[in-house]
Symmetry: C2
Subunit: 421 residues, 2 copies
């Protein structure tokens, strides 16, 4: 008998019919003799509908009230799944984030979990009940105000609960049946991975894989909670994310896959005086605006004028704000010009095998060269290579890299009706 935490995304709960289907799966898990805790996202488009209503009553809605509003979505799906479970003859009890003891920081809209004290959930499990916990939400440990955890917050709720309850596995259900070597919509023979280390999944999530949010993987790694990425539309065992890369025998280490990200923009700051502290000024104004920088490149300074250029990428959504701040630096004479380019894409290769296989970078660059793709920027980690290229060359690049590293399988990958999460 194991303790299983299951998290279902909005696409798995988009209708009464889907909710009943999910409930059947939950009851089946319980009947296998396991204790089951379920974390639900809001149904289908509920969150978008609530956001739309909020925008109609107040274009700049206060964050505390926004959290009060949005958390209603998970309460609804949670209660409906509990009802559906009872209709299949099992006992269920739903809990809000607060009732489940999900304590967070006070930052509305993007709170962090600081502690999980699931005493009520534990009691209900001990009484043979299937427990449902509303995802994405918690309660400010000081003020007792309702908070939300930001994008992918339900994954984080599930992992944090699994850690607090000492669960054997945390299953993340969506409409995708696992982690693939590439997006099957781009690469038809992409293969589903059976197992990935936490580090590999972290790198994949960081470079654009949407299958799990970075924060939930970080949490799982920190508390060593095995994750299983599965589809609520099939019985495929999915992909297991567990264990450290260090524990993978060298000869078994492989390349995990190719990920893409077309949500970033490239900013180039030209003519920064090549003196200590000048580049720091650029990054300080961006940091103070809470804009995340991803890739960074600083050129060698020009011998003529003793000035240098810095290029970095940041989320496109933050691009206009970044430009506004940097234009002020330009006005102050801290740089000569600022350029903006949002027609870029990032392609990354990730895998523990990279450590032990020399020449990966060479093959990587040759594959893109053969596909006629120009590389604008490169950044690497121990188990990842990322390049910045033109946005309209992303798909061709993914296929070229997938082929060059022989990641494809014999069969076409299964793609389900719903796409994305």
């Amino acid at each position: 008998m194991a303790l299983v935490v299951q998290k279902y995304g909005g696409s798995s709960l988009e209708s009464a019919e889907r909710i009943r289907s999910v409930a059947e799966r939950i009851v089946a898990t319980k009947k296998q003799g396991h204790d089951v805790v379920v974390v639900c996202s809001a149904m289908g488009d509920t969150t978008d509908e609530l956001l739309d209503l909020a925008a109609q009553v107040n274009p700049v809605p206060p964050a505390r009230e926004m959290d009060m509003l949005l958390t209603a979505g998970e309460r609804i799906s949670n209660a409906l799944v509990a009802m559906a479970i009872e209709s299949f003859g099992a006992e269920a009890q739903s809990f809000t984030g607060s009732q489940a003891g999900v304590l967070t920081t006070e930052r509305h809209g993007n709170a962090r979990i600081v502690d999980v004290t699931p005493a009520r959930v534990r009691d209900a499990l001990d009484n043979g009940k299937i427990c449902l916990v509303a995802g994405f939400q918690g309660v400010n440990k000081d003020t007792r105000d309702v908070t939300t955890l930001g994008r992918g917050g339900s994954d984080t709720t599930a992992v944090a609960l699994a850690a607090a309850l000492g669960a054997d596995v945390c299953e993340i259900y969506s409409d995708v049946d696992g982690v693939y070597t590439a997006d099957p919509r781009i690469v038809p023979n992409a293969q589903k991975l059976e197992k990935l280390s936490f580090e590999e999944m972290l790198e994949l999530a960081a470079v654009g894989s949407k299958i799990l949010v970075l924060r939930s993987v970080e949490y799982a790694r920190a508390f060593n909670v095995p994750l299983r990425v599965r589809s609520s539309y099939s019985n495929d065992p999915g992909t297991l994310v567990a264990g450290s890369m260090e524990d993978i025998p060298v000869e078994e280490a492989v390349l995990a896959g190719v990920a893409t990200d077309v949500s970033e923009a490239k900013v180039t700051v030209l003519g920064i005086p090549d003196l200590p502290g000048e580049a720091a000024k650029v990054f300080r104004v961006i940091a103070d605006a809470e804009i995340n920088i991803d890739m960074v490149l600083q050129n060698i300074s020009s011998l003529e004028d003793g000035r240098t250029d810095i290029t970095f990428t940041c989320p496109r959504a933050d691009g206009p704000r970044a430009m506004e701040l940097l234009k002020k630096l330009q006005d102050d004479g801290s740089c000569k010009n600022v350029l903006y380019d949002d027609q870029i894409g990032k392609v990354s290769l990730v895998g523990a095998g990279m450590k032990s296989h020399p020449g990966v970078t060479a093959v990587f660059c040759e594959a893109l060269r053969d596909a006629g793709v120009n590389i604008e920027l490169i950044s690497t980690s121990e188990i990842r290579i990322s390049v910045l290229i033109r946005e309209n060359e992303v798909e061709k690049s993914v296929r070229a890299l997938h082929d060059a590293f022989d990641l494809g399988g014999e069969e076409q990958a299964t793609v389900y009706a719903g796409t994305g999460r």
Copy 2:
């Protein structure tokens, strides 16, 4: 400076536009220098939509989960109104029933308020904030589970909060601008009443007036909270419900109005042995099924067979269940036959003036006789006369009584687009 509690019904909050209009009214009240606490019902059809979803996943949904589900509706409207208020420059803070200290019994779906400890609301008021409290919901004082208060629960929340906070008035907003001498859709010259005593409002609510639920009036009377029934679509001061009938000078006591109820059915149990305890059997099975009985009539027993007949009315929704139980009594020989009639209606005249004006019953019966309406059953209280008649004669009877007692005004009553609550 006063402390005002305002309650807005679902029809007043059915769209973003209506929510902004309500927020404007709330902010205007605050700007007049008053402290304001607002209780919101769920938006328009939200509750019905949630009930529909629940029915799709489980035809007999567990009551605890139903409460978890339905309370989401008030959280949504509450947060949206708070956002709208902030857009008009005032500070607002929303509270769930639990956060506002609305403690209830454990009966899910129809819990009773046992205490209100609004310390957080009081603090927020002291900090100059407009407070919003989700109506219809509370928290079980023992288990901390979320509960709901049953039909009209938001009115009860508002009155209970007004009592706990010592508010000067509790304003109940809907799409009707006051209590009328009759339904203006039936009687075009029905007049809006300026003031009513608690007892009169209680009688009106008990005999079918939908404007306030009985329980909220009982609560207001017990804690002496003045109620003002108003429309969120106009600036009319509405109707004040306050004070005891005993305090009305005899010469000022008048008739308040005519109310109707077509939600009941008539059950007749024939041939009950006229012995002690036999009639009690009938009422016991009905009471055990938690079916409320309204009017009752027992005929004189027949001399021939020493048996008697009992007629009573109960909600139509409970009719089939009542019949099933009584048919069993018939099978046991405790009666000879059971008849069911759901084509009936009840018309009532209410008013403190009845006490001091002899002959009201005579005028009442004559008015119906002149209208050609047959009375099937009569019941009275100190300040009320109710009769059971054919359902299709209800409107004609209301008009006849309204005329006979000279309740009409010179002008046509204003009827707003939305009808009912």
